[in-house]
């Protein structure tokens, strides 16, 4: 594996491998020879708007076909797959715009995520067999459990569309987790969240990163700095930097293309998230190490 050059410890268990990936839309080269890998730990993917982050996610998910390059997950080659096959492979993705079924209950939304794990066939579903109802009960129980763990168990029977944004994001996360993924793709999980919710989210992502692989697209640098073991920076469809959060922070090219001189000062002092001195806040969440 050419990309896992041993630079970072976490890449030992890498399972998603992207090699020299190029995507061409009409006149626009959205991705240009991108290589990266993600497995155990949290890998951050940052870059200016339009740098190709969402396109990369869409390729991984099977919405967009690569023009050239290779893409594999474990032993399985990707690139010609359909989106619905993804969760069966052990990859789950949350959407930027939440993507819940607004008129359905929260519980039902979460249960939907278990689709790839459900084994019940159409005949036993039609007959309402014991097998079907048992499986349903099991999925419902697991969904409630996950909702409780994310502190939104009380909303289980409410319609997803009428809930506050922060709650919807947690429901979407629960839906991704119920599929028992080994790799979780998070698409701007922090957008629209308040600073307080951000701290909570950071703790959860860090914790998840100790158990499964997380690939995180995010603009809130305080979150990226707080949770990522490794950060990959895209610009104009190319990887311009890769390293630990601290290395990226000090990289002048990244600062010029993405972070900007004026704001970095404000963001780097993100004591609210990284510090664990604060009893009521994110400190109560166990740190990764």
């Amino acid at each position: 594996m050419p990309t896992a050059s041993g630079a970072t410890l976490s890449s030992v268990g890498s399972r998603l491998v992207v090699e020299d990936l190029t995507v061409q839309f009409a006149s626009l080269r959205a991705l240009d020879g991108v290589s990266l890998s993600a497995g155990q730990g949290v890998v951050g993917l940052i870059g200016p708007n339009g740098a190709g982050k969402t396109t990369l996610f869409n390729v991984i998910c099977g919405f967009v076909r690569p023009t050239s390059g290779r893409l594999s997950y474990g032993n399985v080659g990707l690139g010609r797959h359909h989106p619905h096959e993804l969760s069966g492979l052990g990859i789950a993705r949350t959407l930027q715009g939440v993507g819940l079924c607004k008129t359905q209950s929260v519980l039902e939304n979460v249960m939907l995520g278990a689709e790839a794990r459900a084994r019940c066939d159409i005949v036993s579903a039609l007959l309402g067999s014991r097998r079907s109802s048992r499986e349903e009960g099991r999925i419902a129980e697991r969904a409630r459990q996950l909702l409780d763990e994310l502190d939104v168990g009380g909303y289980a029977s409410r319609r997803a569309g009428e809930l506050p944004y922060g709650v919807q994001k947690k429901v979407a996360l629960a839906r991704a987790l119920i599929a028992e993924p080994e790799l979780l793709l998070l698409d701007e999980p922090a957008s629209g969240l308040s600073e307080a919710e951000l701290g909570d989210l950071a703790g959860r992502i860090r914790w998840l990163g100790t158990h499964l692989g997380v690939l995180l697209v995010e603009h809130r640098m305080d979150l990226v700095n707080a949770v990522c073991d490794r950060v990959v920076v895209l610009n104009f469809g190319q990887v311009i930097a890769e390293g630990t959060a601290a290395e990226i922070r000090d990289n002048s090219e990244v600062a010029a293309a993405y972070l900007g001189g004026t704001v970095t000062a404000g963001i780097t002092g993100s004591a609210g998230i990284t510090g664990s001195d604060d009893g009521a806040g994110p400190g109560s969440i166990p740190g990764p190490r």
């Binding site: 993705r93 008129t103 909303y155 009428e162 028992e180």
Partner: protein, 430 residues
């Protein structure tokens, strides 16, 4: 006589309601304490309810006059058709203006088998449903790529294009005259009308049980997810195309079965029985009853059968000329449709649920909705589609505060992902 009819249909709907409830809104329906006395296993519970409903239907039909038995039987067959359409259009969100085509296929299949092979009635009807289901799969495949008005256009043409085939090859299909069917022979001293009505109502109940099972299974969940957001559904692992085809096949099978029954009721199967207006009326009745609701299928079927009766008797009362009175039924039907869509988009069942929710909230006191605050209410919740008609009153437990979390142990923390991998079987006793 009239009062008997009313009680018959109302009871029928009651039985359907219990079947409908778990699947329509909240998936964890088995937890509701109200229903604890019935068997907890859904199959047993549904069978128990169905047996009770079937007995009730038998009782009612035996009290009705032969003419009203015919009408009751028609209600039964339309329930079958509407239940299928409700799955397709109400639940999986695929507009079909061609449901009549599936009925036509079912009717001709049953009639041909009866005339040429003398097959048993049950097998005739099974073949009717099966042939229509095959057509459903054939139509459903291209339909998976279409949406909204495009799909409406395709199904509309389907309803228009199929019947002329029977006219074209009239040596096989009987042309304008159609194919004559023989109604089933009634056992014992039952009259033929009552026996047919019983068969039709029983099959309606059976269909509802099967469809209700499907709707509350993972397939029902997939239908609703595909209706709401295809991209999100696909990412959650739902095979969108397959789900859409399944909905089409189920709907077509129901349509085919209903068509077979319609052939038995009218005694003749001809293309005139399946005009485009039939498809339109089916869609309209489904929506008027309550899209996506299986109880709504009963309301829709009652409307389909009785609206023409009522309007022709109204025309008689108004002493309109024969020419004009023929049009009164259509005018009333269309007007009801328009007014209902504007005033009560959830249909009859949706409106009943709203009343129910209102009464419930008056009785149950406050507490509803205080968690809904400020910004979250902005756009959707205010006008969130009563169209779906699927939700029951929200008896929310007070949400645990969204604020800073109470201290949590490491094990119970975010996602407990490691357990996830291994405990698929450990909590199977559910």
């Amino acid at each position: 006589m009239a009062s008997l009819d009313a009680s018959g249909t109302a009871r029928g709907a009651g039985a359907g309601d219990a079947i409908d409830a778990p699947g329509s809104g909240r998936a964890g329906g088995s937890r509701t304490p109200r229903r604890l006395r019935l068997p907890r296993q859904p199959m047993l519970r549904h069978l128990a309810l169905a047996a009770a409903g079937a007995a009730l239907c038998y009782l009612v039909t035996s009290l009705l006059s032969p003419y009203n038995d015919v009408l009751a039987g028609e209600i039964g067959l339309y329930v079958v058709a509407l239940a299928g359409l409700s799955v397709l259009t109400g639940m999986s969100g695929q507009i079909s203006l061609g449901h009549g085509a599936f009925m036509a296929v079912g009717a001709y299949t049953a009639a041909l088998l009866a005339n040429h092979t003398g097959l048993d009635l049950a097998l005739q009807l099974l073949a009717a449903a099966g042939t229509a289901a095959v057509l459903g799969a054939v139509v459903g495949l291209p339909a998976t790529r279409l949406r909204g008005p495009y799909l409406a256009g395709m199904t509309l043409l389907l309803a228009l294009a199929l019947p002329p085939i029977a006219d074209r090859w009239n040596s096989l299909f009987g042309g304008d005259q159609g194919l004559v069917t023989t109604p089933p022979t009634a056992p014992g001293d039952l009259n033929a009308q009552q026996w047919l009505a019983d068969i039709e109502l029983w099959l309606a109940i059976l269909t509802l049980v099967v469809v209700a099972n499907l709707v509350r299974s993972r397939f029902g969940r997939a239908f609703r997810a595909v209706r709401d957001d295809e991209v999100a559904a696909a990412l959650a692992g739902v095979h969108v195309a397959r789900t859409k085809v399944i909905a089409f096949v189920v709907a077509a099978a129901c349509g085919g079965l209903a068509g077979g029954l319609l052939g038995l009721t009218t005694g003749v199967v001809s293309t005139g029985e399946f005009p485009l207006t039939l498809s339109i009326q089916l869609l309209a009745a489904m929506v008027l009853g309550g899209a996506g609701s299986l109880v709504g299928a009963w309301w829709g079927a009652v409307l389909l059968v009785y609206l023409p009766e009522w309007s022709s008797s109204l025309a008689g009362d108004l002493q309109l000329g024969a020419g004009t009175s023929a049009y009164l039924a259509t005018i009333i039907f269309g007007a009801v449709l328009i007014v209902a869509m504007i005033a009560a988009p959830g249909g009859i069942q949706g409106s009943l649920r709203l009343c129910w929710a209102y009464v419930g909230s008056r009785r149950g006191g406050a507490g509803t909705g205080d968690a809904v605050r400020g910004d979250a209410v902005g756009g959707d919740a205010v006008r969130s589609g009563a169209m779906a008609g699927g939700e029951r009153p929200l008896q929310d437990r007070a949400p645990s505060s969204g604020g800073p979390a109470a201290p949590r142990g490491a094990a119970g923390s975010p996602g407990s992902a490691p357990n996830v991998q291994s405990n698929e079987s450990s909590n199977s006793d559910g």
